[in-house]
């Protein structure tokens, strides 16, 4: 069934809101120094770190978030409401406050972090692992909320059939539930990955900003942008790079289903 023309008009307007600012940004890029800005070793290091940490935290989001989404989708209406509200927490907090919360839990002076630090000398802040934790904290709600919506829409009929054919719960999960919610799963994963790639506030506060260890692209961009007297050129160049690499990866991820499921 085709969508009405006027609806498509609105869709184009919506797209414009999202894309035109980027076009505007391109007008400010200084192309002459672009190559130089992009190919510096520190830039590439930051990019690599961003990709690595975003991939790790997306994985963590999947591993922790899928079960959580499943539990919420199958819970009673009341319990689901409570759980959903809990999941919303990191979503609503400005990322900087999220960083603060993480510090107060896992920092060297944190409720959990202090005893660990005192006993072992290990702590999460200023480490790449810390970046992953911060990104996971910030990105997971996106996965959970998206997935829960799809799980609810897709229903359980096919799962019952699979169980009745002798599939244990693990098999039902991996061979039926997961493939059936694939579009939503991909959507959620993309959101989480994108959010992790763009994450700045919580990372800056929790993990710090140390080149090669915790300085991801957004931190590099912010640092470049905040550079005194330096024009915004390199910040813009870095943004462009971040954008392109994220889009390339997301496009690679597109194992979207070709046809509607039923």
């Amino acid at each position: 069934m085709s969508t009405p023309v006027w609806l498509r008009g609105i869709a184009v307007a919506g797209l414009a809101v999202l894309v035109l600012p980027l076009a505007g940004m391109l007008t400010r890029v200084r192309w002459s120094t672009l190559g130089e800005d992009l190919l510096s070793p520190t830039t590439l290091q930051a990019l690599w770190l961003s990709l690595l940490t975003a991939a790790c935290s997306t994985l963590a989001c999947l591993v922790l978030g899928f079960p959580l989404a499943l539990v919420i989708a199958r819970a009673s209406a009341r319990l689901a409401a409570v759980l959903r509200a809990a999941v919303m927490v990191p979503l609503v907090l400005p990322p900087m406050v999220g960083g603060l919360a993480l510090l107060s839990l896992l920092g060297r002076s944190g409720v959990v972090g202090r005893p660990i630090f005192e006993a072992t000398g290990l702590s999460l802040p200023y480490t790449t692992a810390g970046v992953v934790v911060a990104q996971t904290f910030v990105a997971m709600p996106f996965l959970v909320i998206t997935l829960e919506g799809v799980l609810r829409t897709s229903g359980q009929g096919h799962e019952w059939v699979a169980a009745s054919l002798g599939a244990n719960r693990w098999r039902v999960l991996t061979r039926v539930t997961l493939p059936l919610v694939a579009p939503g799963l991909v959507a959620g994963t993309v959101l989480a990955f994108a959010r992790a790639m763009g994450e700045f506030g919580a990372t800056a506060l929790f993990a710090g900003n140390s080149q090669g260890i915790t300085r991801t692209m957004p931190l590099a961009i912010y640092t470049a942008y905040n550079g005194v007297g330096v024009s915004q050129d390199s910040a813009l160049a870095l943004s462009l790079l971040l954008l392109i690499s994220a889009i390339v990866i997301v496009a690679g991820l597109r194992s979207w289903r070709e046809e509607a499921v039923r």
């Binding site: 009929g157 019952w160 009745s164 002798g166 244990n168 098999r171 061979r175 493939p179």
Partner: protein, 384 residues
């Protein structure tokens, strides 16, 4: 009784691979499930390899019973157990955690095909064997074999959405059987199949059930399905069992209103007397059913074969022992023409000259005629 009298022989068409003959489990169930309008209550006992047909009107509770057995519908009371006394496994009972569906070895073929949209037909049919531990190769071969049996080999590598409704239903059937359950529950498995395919598939499944000794419960609206596949029939009305009989008995001498209709008999309600059934002041000739004879002077059902009902041009005529009826349907099958009346009777007019009856052509729906049953079989209204 174990396997049906009609479902014997013919092992020559058994699967070439697919393992040794297995025996189905016995099943015993006291089911109680709350539904919107009533509570479904049924006691079932099935010997290993026995085959039960559940018959009943829409919404009578047939699917509910299957769901309870499969573990997809929670019991509000009752108890379900698998196997004989010594090896009994309780699946559901008050105060126990119910055994999850995948550990019941009971496969339910639901009313909708519910094929897995993300798997091709082979993947769908191989799902059961794979789940029960067969190797990839063996499962695929078994799946292909089953697809051949339901005549879908050509579509083996297609996704379900590219199939017609009846083809999907056949895949679902193949999938359920390929899982090799010890109890199989079939919910209107032939409803979407074409007239030519039904007897063929039914025959194939009959042989398969016999070969493997699988216990089966079949829900159907077609008595011919029960006839071909089942040992025993249960007739449900509003969640309660109204009649239990062998298919032969149900076909020749049904004892409930729904059973009569299913078997193609007419049924009319009246008051019993010594000579028969008194309906609207007319005495219709009849004899009590030997199995469940009603007392004299009570409300009872008179059941008549269409060939025993004569159609008269006029309406009521006490001397001719005929009751009036408005024609609500004129049906033909296999060269016979049946006329159905709103009074519950059906008359076979194949041998009567149509012109004799209605003056011209066949009787017209809506016209009022006289229906004269030559002999009613009288049964009580309150069969348990």
């Amino acid at each position: 009784m174990s396997t049906g009298a009609r479902g014997t022989g013919a092992t020559d068409e058994g699967p070439r691979s697919g393992g040794t003959t297995h025996r189905g489990s016995g099943l015993s169930a006291q089911i109680e499930v709350e539904r919107t309008a009533f509570t479904v209550r049924a006691d079932l006992t099935l010997a290993p390899g026995q085959r039960l047909a559940l018959l009943g009107a829409n919404g009578a509770g047939k699917s509910t019973i299957l769901g309870a057995l499969a573990g997809t519908v929670p019991l509000s009371a009752g108890r379900i157990s698998l196997g004989e006394a010594a090896t009994e496994r309780v699946l559901d009972a008050p105060g126990r955690r119910s055994v999850p569906a995948h550990r019941r070895a009971i496969t339910l073929l639901e009313q909708r095909p519910l094929l897995f949209p993300h798997l091709d037909l082979v993947g769908n049919v191989a799902f059961g064997p794979r789940s029960r531990g067969s190797g990839r190769r063996a499962s695929r071969d078994l799946a292909l074999e089953w697809l051949e049996r339901v005549d879908l080999t050509d579509h083996a590598r297609q996704r379900p959405y590219r199939l017609s409704g009846g083809q999907q239903q056949r895949v679902a059937l193949a999938r359920a059987f390929a899982a090799g359950p010890s109890v199989i529950l079939l919910d209107e498995p032939f409803a979407a199949l074409d007239a030519e395919t039904v007897p063929r598939v039914r025959g194939m499944l009959d042989r398969e059930l016999t070969r493997t000794g699988t216990t089966a419960v079949l829900v159907t609206h077609q008595l011919s399905d029960a006839w071909d596949l089942a040992d025993t029939c249960l007739v449900l009305e509003a969640g309660r069992v109204r009649e239990q009989a062998s298919p032969e008995h149900l076909v020749t001498a049904p004892r409930s209103r729904f059973g009569a209709r299913l078997a193609g008999f007419g049924a009319i309600e009246g008051e019993t007397s010594a000579q028969g059934l008194r309906v609207e002041g007319v005495l219709l000739p009849g004899r009590p059913d030997p199995g469940s004879p009603p007392r004299r002077g009570v409300r009872a059902l008179g059941i008549a074969s269409p060939t025993d009902v004569e159609l008269l041009p006029g309406t009521a005529d006490a001397s001719l022992a005929s009751v009036p009826g408005r024609v609500i349907g004129v049906r033909a099958s296999a060269g016979r023409v049946l006329v159905e009346a709103d009074n519950g009777l059906i008359a076979d007019v194949t041998t009567q000259r149509a012109t004799e009856v209605a003056g011209q052509g066949l009787p017209v729906v809506g016209s009022r005629l006289g229906f004269a049953p030559r002999s009613l079989r009288l049964v009580g209204l309150d069969v348990p």
